[in-house]
Symmetry: C2
Subunit: 384 residues, 2 copies
């Protein structure tokens, strides 16, 4: 209601949307036009549940560039990575199970896992990613208490919401830990390509899946951030028996992903569009981050703090003492600016002193204006 | 394996695919080209879970033509009607519930409902649709035995697989029955537009939902048969509280349907493409049915029997005594022709004397050749 009343001039740091100015429109248009010539009827026909085979083969190539060797039996398309999370929840989680997640973690994963009636147990996060001591302690404590614990969910690259990059050393130790503790890891990687070259390298985004010698990792990734989210084309790479079970489940969920979308994505890979996207997008979002950081410093000095995002879409800001996320959101909406409250990302009841600010979508001048509005929202209420 | 070894010349009466020759390619191409101009970034952006609002408004118009008055709170897009079935199963069925279905019924519904760990109880079918006496008896018998029974699934128009049209009189009685017995009806209507004018009228396809004054009907329909299945754009029309719960569930399932697809479908409705499709498609599939029926009569005389399909894609053939669906399928595959075994559609273990033959996809000469192969598969094995 508050939003509706503000006559449209709302600045959103809430939505984790890519900037449509970064979509390769011309190429999509040419590809769609060719595909829709009608010469090939299968372009709009029912298609296979696992995905359009040439697309899957292209995905194997995308994976290989990330260090992951997989074959056709280990990959399946999903309708967004959200469906990968939903499949994981439906196929691998039984009611009453404990699932380990970072604090904070992605809200979509929280929702999907909660649907499976599991209990989510939060694990602390350091500046270089999940805290391994807390992870193991949480796992063992829950197991000793009689819970079934066999799944860890995390976003190693430029985490949503914290923007954090998991260190390479921790990645190795996580794989060893998963093997030792007989755990599966759901590795959600939408942002790996979008590292910022002033503070991160491609090598540092190497997926856990690349070194997964024991079939411990379910790897989710997507074209939503590098091509466009509207296509709903994402994929899972996992051990073949897990993919087989996902496939069976997907058959009764939606039969298949949109086939025209899959064909457009396939052609975008085959024609090099995807590869050409990466560098400009890295620059686009790095520039946005720079504007966001500079503006927040200008507006707030040291009253806000955060860990510098090394990639991705998000800045996870710590509010000054005495500010609370929900109350601040109400004031912010009055000023015409939106963010996501920190507590939404925290399964342990914490996060009320945090806000997630997305810098991916608003143009630089909107980021500056939005930050100014946020600053006004944080001004003390005048005594009447 | 048998299929793979047949060097590609396989005739399929199995797949319920529309004929791609009936897709409005030129219109789709023009629409996609305009949408992908890049002028409107939202064409490929994340979109609302309920669906692209102008599309939903168009769907209200489609519904109105079918006699259904609904508003924005009562409609939601789904990724194929299969997702509507999955949402129904997830939101409305608890483990151990009994769900009533026709014998035979659609396999995708069987799969979706079984996933919710319900028990499916079959109800007999007459030439004019579900047998109401058996329906009520089954419902009351299960309730007396202590089961929770509150859902009936059916396909009133040109049922998959039986091709049967539910009579108008039974539709009214079903609504009264649902009210009296406090039941919800899932009305799955993919084929309603595809009535064959020699034996059916538009008036006879009037959805139960059109006369649903007590909020008893969850209506599922799709553009897969009238535009193209590759878009994965379908919808549900149901009481607002149910749609609200479906919406919440879909948020954690896949966030949204493909937005470009939704926009193409919306433009197809707005520009009259959808309306212009109906008459030629009715003729296309009616001609196919005629070829299928004539060919089966030529090949089999009265050894095969069926109820004449009044619309849709399917002919549900009764095999001669002594033939069994699974054994026949093996022989048929050797001859290079496919169908779906009757028992796959029957939750009570019956159907082994039946096969579902789809006439929607193969061209007339392929239908003739396929029927000849089927006849060869049914020849007695020569004694050595």
């Amino acid at each position: 209601q508050v939003i509706a009343s503000r006559s449209g001039d709302l600045i959103s740091f809430a939505a984790g949307y890519p900037d449509p100015a970064g979509f390769p429109w011309e190429e999509f248009r040419a590809i769609a036009s060719e595909l829709l010539s009608g010469k090939d009827g299968s372009v709009l026909q029912y298609g296979p549940t696992r995905g359009y085979r040439p697309l899957i083969e292209s995905i194997l190539g995308v994976l290989e560039k990330r260090g992951i060797k997989a074959d056709l039996t280990e990959v399946m398309t999903t309708s967004g990575s959200q469906q990968g999370l939903d499949l994981t929840a439906r196929v691998l989680i039984a009611p009453g199970d404990v699932v380990l997640v970072e604090v904070p973690t992605y809200t979509g994963a929280i929702a999907a896992f909660r649907n499976a009636q599991c209990r989510l147990v939060g694990v602390r996060q350091d500046a270089d990613g999940i805290n391994l001591e807390d992870l193991d302690a949480s796992c063992m404590r829950e197991r000793k208490a009689g819970s079934r614990v066999n799944l860890l969910y995390l976003v190693p690259n430029f985490q949503n919401p914290a923007g954090i990059l998991l260190s390479l050393e921790k990645r190795q130790r996580l794989l060893e830990w998963a093997e030792r503790r007989n755990m599966l890891i759901v590795e959600d990687d939408p942002y790996g390509e979008l590292y910022f070259e002033d503070v991160a390298t491609a090598a540092e985004t190497r997926p856990l899946k690349a070194d997964d010698r024991h079939g411990r990792v379910i790897y989710l990734s997507t074209f939503s951030k590098t091509l466009a989210p509207g296509f709903r084309v994402a994929w899972v790479a996992a051990p073949a028996p897990i993919v087989e079970r996902f496939y069976t489940a997907k058959q009764s969920m939606d039969l298949m992903c949109g086939i025209l979308d899959q064909r457009v994505v396939h052609q975008s890979i085959a024609r090099g569009v995807l590869d050409r996207q990466a560098a400009p997008l890295r620059k686009l979002y790095r520039d946005r981050r720079d504007v966001m950081e500079q503006t927040l410093r200008d507006q707030f000095g040291d009253r806000l703090s955060w860990i510098k995002p090394k990639g991705g879409f998000f800045l996870w800001a710590q509010l000054p003492d005495g500010f609370e996320d929900i109350a601040l959101l109400e004031k912010a909406m009055e000023q015409g600016v939106l963010f996501v409250i920190g507590s939404a990302f925290c399964v342990d009841g914490s996060g009320h002193g945090r806000v997630r600010l997305s810098f991916s979508w608003p143009a630089p001048d909107r980021i500056r204006e939005g930050a100014a509005r946020l600053a006004r929202a944080m001004m003390p209420t005048p005594v009447a």
